[in-house]
């Protein structure tokens, strides 16, 4: 426990140090503000309209989480189904691969026509980017289980369901979590790109407005919010991995 607190303190120290270096470099070298503004100016911009950034953060987080959760659930179910039914896998997996080659920007315009400017539209894009890696990695994890171990359990009289939940799924978990960490970043990208198709609230909206108004300070403010959200979400998934896959975390 104490070491966790120390690690958190060290992290905080590192962040503060990086912030100080940023401020010092910009002031010291006289970097023009439209290339890189002072960190303190960015914080001041956020402090001016904190409500907008907070609302954007919440909205984007909700879209990301819903898309990520749906993508995880569907991905794991897909993996299980494909593991059990290789014929289905051979039929559907290529279709999934093709679906992933559609650039998300092209897909976004369609989603707006289908779902309008709703939270769901963004969640669908986040889902679209998440479900595929989870599907593939679940299948990979399940296939990597030693069949002799399954045969041993079967010889003890274990039912297929017991073998799945006691052996195969737990053994696949490290592989699944690799996809979930990837999905954490991808679902955020999906939510932000989704917000570029006409909406009022969200980190993606703030990014777009800042970019097209050439307001560099606001652009950096939105980037910091996205970074905060991305890092926080990734840390959450990594923390869950350490708790759940306590036996075999690679790091």
């Amino acid at each position: 426990m104490k070491s966790t607190a120390m690690a958190a303190l060290r992290l905080l120290g590192g962040v503060i140090l990086a912030g100080l270096v940023w401020e010092a470099v910009v002031v010291g070298f006289g970097i023009r503000p439209h290339l890189l503004p002072r960190l303190s100016d960015i914080f001041a911009a956020i402090a001016l309209t904190p409500g907008a950034y907070w609302a954007g953060l919440q909205r984007t987080a909700a879209e990301t989480l819903i898309g990520f959760a749906a993508g995880t659930a569907v991905g794991i179910i897909n993996g299980l189904v494909f593991f059990r039914a290789p014929l289905l896998r051979d039929m559907l997996l290529p279709v999934f691969v093709v679906s992933q080659t559609i650039p998300v920007i092209a897909f976004g315009a369609l989603v707006v026509m289908w779902f309008g400017n709703t939270l769901m539209a963004k969640a669908v894009i986040a889902f679209y980017l998440t479900f595929f890696p989870v599907t593939v990695n679940t299948l990979l994890g399940l296939n990597s289980v030693d069949p002799r171990q399954a045969a041993l359990l079967r010889s003890f009289g274990a039912t297929p369901r017991q073998i799945l939940f006691r052996l195969q799924l737990p053994m696949a978990l490290p592989q699944i979590f690799v996809a979930l960490r990837l999905g954490a970043s991808l679902s955020l990208v999906g939510a932000i790109v989704g917000e570029w198709f006409g909406d009022n609230t969200g980190i993606g909206v703030l990014l777009l407005q800042a970019m097209y108004n050439e307001s560099v300070v606001a652009l950096w403010a939105a980037i910091l919010c996205a970074a905060l959200l991305g890092t926080g979400f990734y840390a959450l998934v990594a923390w869950a991995e350490r708790r759940i896959v306590f036996w075999g975390a690679e790091q």
């Binding site: 439209h34 907008a52 198709f197 006409g198 909406d199």
Partner: protein, 335 residues
Amino acid sequence: MNRRHLLAATGAAAVTPFIRPAGAQNLVRATLRLKWLTQAQFAGFYVALQKGYYREAGIDLTINPGGPNLLTENLVASGADTFGLSGGTDSVFAARERNLPIVCAGVMHQQTPFVFVTRADGPIRTLADFRGKTITTWFTGANFVLLGMLAQAGLGRGDFTMQPQQVSVQPFVDRQVDVVTATRYNEFFTLMQRVGRDNLRSFVPDDHGITFPRDTVIVSEQTARDRPQMVTAFLRATIRGWRDALRDGKLGVDSVMSVAPTLNRPHQEFMMEEAGKLMVAGGAAQNGLFWIDRPVIQAAHDFFLRHEVIKTPLDLAAAYNSSFLEAIPLADRMA
């Protein structure tokens, strides 16, 4: 014919949610898709929404911002949005040429909203000086306006370098290009901030006989045919909102910034002022806001035809429908 009509109407009712009445007061649900991100260029719509003018007109309106990846014509033609504020006469021509079933019901900016900007202390004093220079512009219509202007000065396509303009005006500020394109209400503000108003020289298309009215209100042909009263009600409420915003710019900017609070207020105030000038210019002075100035549109059409931007003449009477505006008394349409 009749049955086909009925079938079409039934099919449309299934896919177009706005026909469904919403709420106890029999409000009709509708959406407006803007041509760009929320900003003071659209202040009147937000004023009308926040003051309840659309509700009073029987419309439960949702305003959907546009963006770089959206084409308003497509969204309105497909029924995803009821009303659209689309690019302008140029994008209406392009859509009609592709047989998209959209109709223009009003025109917001009576003059060409963009200008071509050089440095006041630079070598370019007249259009003839564009020879050999590097120009960035938008390849969505502005490029043809410039080509037309330069053709009048005797310059052909090979006499200068024309490049697509990216998001930022910074290359011009850094003197990497000689001429930059700017809307009077938006990029021009950024240029003023970075270069200074007195250091800029503008070439205005309208001064050279080329006027491109832009920011067009569009509806689908089906809406125009089946619900003309709703289109008129929408325009009436919109004009009420714009009259308020034009009279009280602060109200207009406040309405927009309540939706997009991170915007830069001085920039939005400048935009409100400049966009307002474009709205009351030209034919709007005698015929009121959103006036469809047919001779000007005909001239723009002929200009595009001459430069082969559109390949065949379009039926402008079908593409531009003034009847919705004309159903509103002139006194109520004046700014």
